[in-house]
Symmetry: C2
Subunit: 449 residues, 2 copies
């Protein structure tokens, strides 16, 4: 239980399942007080009078649930800290629950407890939404409680609210972009300085852009959570993260960036969801895009998301996709929006139907491919590889073989659009080719995402 | 008066000053049915079932006020047309009034009539907001009626709603960007092909991007209306369009683009508003920005707006800033949002205080300048011009004089940051210099907007 403020008696929980009507002060519970949580506490304390003016009533942090009570937290009195998050959720002074702990549990249980108590939830936790979104959104829908998650997808870049409200007149056909700053930083260094992956990663770690264990970023898990959430909004049905086809960036080598440049492409880790009839095609993978595409100009840790709609055409949103205050900016906006809709969440803000969308199997999708392989440097190899492509219906748009260095040669192909399943069968045949030593890189090429 | 639908009796105006509670169908009045209005009618008719599902109740176009009843309008029955917009505003079946006529009158009178009748107004009319915003917003505030204007600023690009809702946790320090597609098209052609202004303008006119009378675009009036609206949101007070410092693009020559490229700059017509203490600095003018700035990559008719806030840092929104369906996308989103908030407009959606913001006089602002002049090609001229700069406290960062062609030489200067008033005094002195034939171009340089 959160200790009462000094001189104040603890208020009895008169209506535990229904918070006090919020005609006066809006009380906030903060679950978790790490990087983002401290940023939220800082904004709520520093800009309290500004927010009160905008909303027409004050917003106050009732308490924060933390693991370590001993650590001092700027903007929070020791009496506001508790190690019992569930008691904080049920505190009758709390109207809105802000979950910034991360991870699946106990975050999911606490979010569900808040929904049962009719308290809107603001979360910046992409993992819990991507993994337990079905449970959370179904229960929130049944009880008419708002779930706000602007901070979960693109840090400070407004994307969920623009999708739900500003682009509501559109049927969306695609959402795609750069949603992970760590990998975009690494790819930028690899492209601009020819740095190998390991060196660019080490640099990102040194600067605090990558974790000591960088798996979640470099293997595309983080981007997959985010695109699963975006895919839900596009399809208006739930897309579980397990359905997202995911490839990381660790296989890319500086030479691939050199070839890409020669061909007029940039390489970006793109999260992509497209509507294909009643189904969706949803994936995260390194992608070659034309140099002239606006996403090619998105450098370092900046994120950017493009949205295609039948009325608007294409719009793009870019900015800081992570970081303490940018993410807190999104979380606090959600708090203020939730406060305004406390009695009745807006219908336009509804989340997708919790039933699952049908996802197009990867083998059925159509892409262009960049392929780099190492083979014996002798006549006839191109004929043999070309034959494998041809017999699987893969037609080649571009081929180059640089001067071989002795016994082995590097061959680079770019295909015309081809069914992924056919391409994979051709690759299996090429792998079995005695002259082919190694398939070194396969990167999808998107001329027009 | 709008004719009733066939087989339906006209409904009596029971409560002319307060529309029927909108528990069922939401009725829309369309004032004006030109390019944008027809797009709105098309979306409302084509996507009616989609909108009904999202909103939870149907949205129906009651009628459209037009000038010419004889013209056929796709998506509108002849019985839905009227030449009496005021009667349509007062039609009891109408809950939301959509003004897409453009111009100041009768648009302003009709918007005020809608407010008196407690009917929310959706408008895509930048001019009426920039010129009569004080009247309209004050009256709307008094009566608690919502005014929605997403289509007025950047066509299909979401900007007002993201500013009001998504970035509400921030104090905004600057909003700047490319808000006129016609001039951006002309500047792109001048930069990329060395086309002179007149030829690029003619091309824009041929493609339908520029009007026969292009004044409103090329002289910066259109951009000034838009930045006046944005400045109001930044300052939270009204900024009248007359207070916007405005320069057009007609003075620019291909040679300025060549110099800009040499110096690492692009030239864009930027609309800029910055907070300066309690005042705002608000202007529209051609601006040299670094090649690496994201706005430098915004080509042709695309628009883009960057926003700086104390929590988020900087975010950018880009896309189609005009056009029938993109603008209709914004107008219909406003209609749906207004419908959701019919009984009570959101407090976060409030417009600025209608009192006027104080604007920093241009002479007090500080900029870098690019200056190109033609002078006699003889020794001592640089010394004399440099003396004029020096005696007014203007320090020069860059100077180049290309090979003279006979008797006259072209001199190009870029200054360090300087008070505009001091720079103007230096220019007056240089104009009076006997050796200086012509000041040919002055363009502000923004290293970091």
């Amino acid at each position: 239980m959160v200790a009462p403020e000094s001189g104040e008696q603890p208020q009895p929980a008169l209506m535990p399942s229904s918070p006090q009507p919020a005609t006066g002060e809006i009380g906030i519970a903060l679950l978790g007080c790490g990087v983002v949580g401290s940023g939220v506490a800082e904004l709520l304390s520093k800009k309290a009078s500004d927010y009160a003016r905008r909303l027409g009533r004050p917003v106050r942090l009732v308490g924060a649930a933390v693991r370590d009570l001993a650590r001092t937290r700027p903007g929070l009195a020791p009496s506001q800290l508790t190690t019992d998050p569930l008691a904080l959720v049920h505190d009758p002074r709390v109207h809105i629950v802000v979950e910034v702990m991360g991870g699946v549990e106990p975050a999911c249980a606490l979010i569900l407890a808040a929904i049962e108590a009719n308290k809107p939830v603001v979360t910046a936790n992409k993992e819990v939404l991507a993994r337990r979104g079905d449970l959370i959104l179904a229960r929130a829908q049944e009880r008419g409680v708002g779930i706000y998650a602007e901070g979960a997808v693109a840090g400070g870049i407004p994307i969920l609210l623009p999708l739900k409200r500003s682009l509501v007149a559109n049927s969306l056909s695609a959402i795609y972009g750069i949603v992970n700053g760590t990998t975009n930083y690494i790819l930028t260094r690899m492209a601009e300085e020819g740095a190998p992956f390991a060196r660019a990663l080490a640099e990102a770690q040194r600067l605090g852009y990558a974790e000591a264990d960088p798996t979640s970023d470099v293997d595309g898990h983080d981007a997959a959570y985010k695109v699963a959430i975006l895919a839900g909004l596009l399809a208006n049905r739930r897309v579980p993260v397990e359905a997202v086809h995911r490839e990381g960036i660790a296989q890319l080598a500086p030479i691939d960036f050199a070839y890409a440049r020669e061909l007029g492409y940039a390489i970006k880790l793109l999260a992509i969801v497209r509507r294909v009839g009643e189904r969706v095609d949803v994936r995260v993978h390194p992608t070659m895009i034309p140099d002239s595409h606006p996403l090619a100009a998105i450098r370092l840790v900046t994120n950017a998301i493009a949205v295609k709609g039948d009325a608007v055409g294409e719009v793009m949103f870019s900015g800081p996709g992570a970081g303490q205050l940018p993410t807190a900016s999104a979380v606090v906006a959600d708090i203020l929006n939730a406060a305004e809709h406390l009695e009745r969440p807006g219908t336009l803000m509804a989340w997708p139907d919790p039933t699952q969308a049908e996802v197009v199997p990867l083998a059925e999708t159509v892409s262009r491919f960049y392929l780099r392989l190492r083979a014996d440097d002798r006549p006839g190899v191109l004929g043999s590889v070309g034959g494998s492509f041809g017999s699987h219906g893969v037609s080649i748009r571009y081929f180059v073989q640089k001067e071989g260095s002795g016994t082995q040669a590097e061959m680079v192909f770019v295909t015309h659009p081809v069914r992924e399943g056919d391409f994979r069968e051709a690759i299996a045949a090429i792998r079995g080719d005695g002259a082919v030593r190694e398939i070194e890189a396969i990167v999808r090429v998107e001329e027009d995402v």
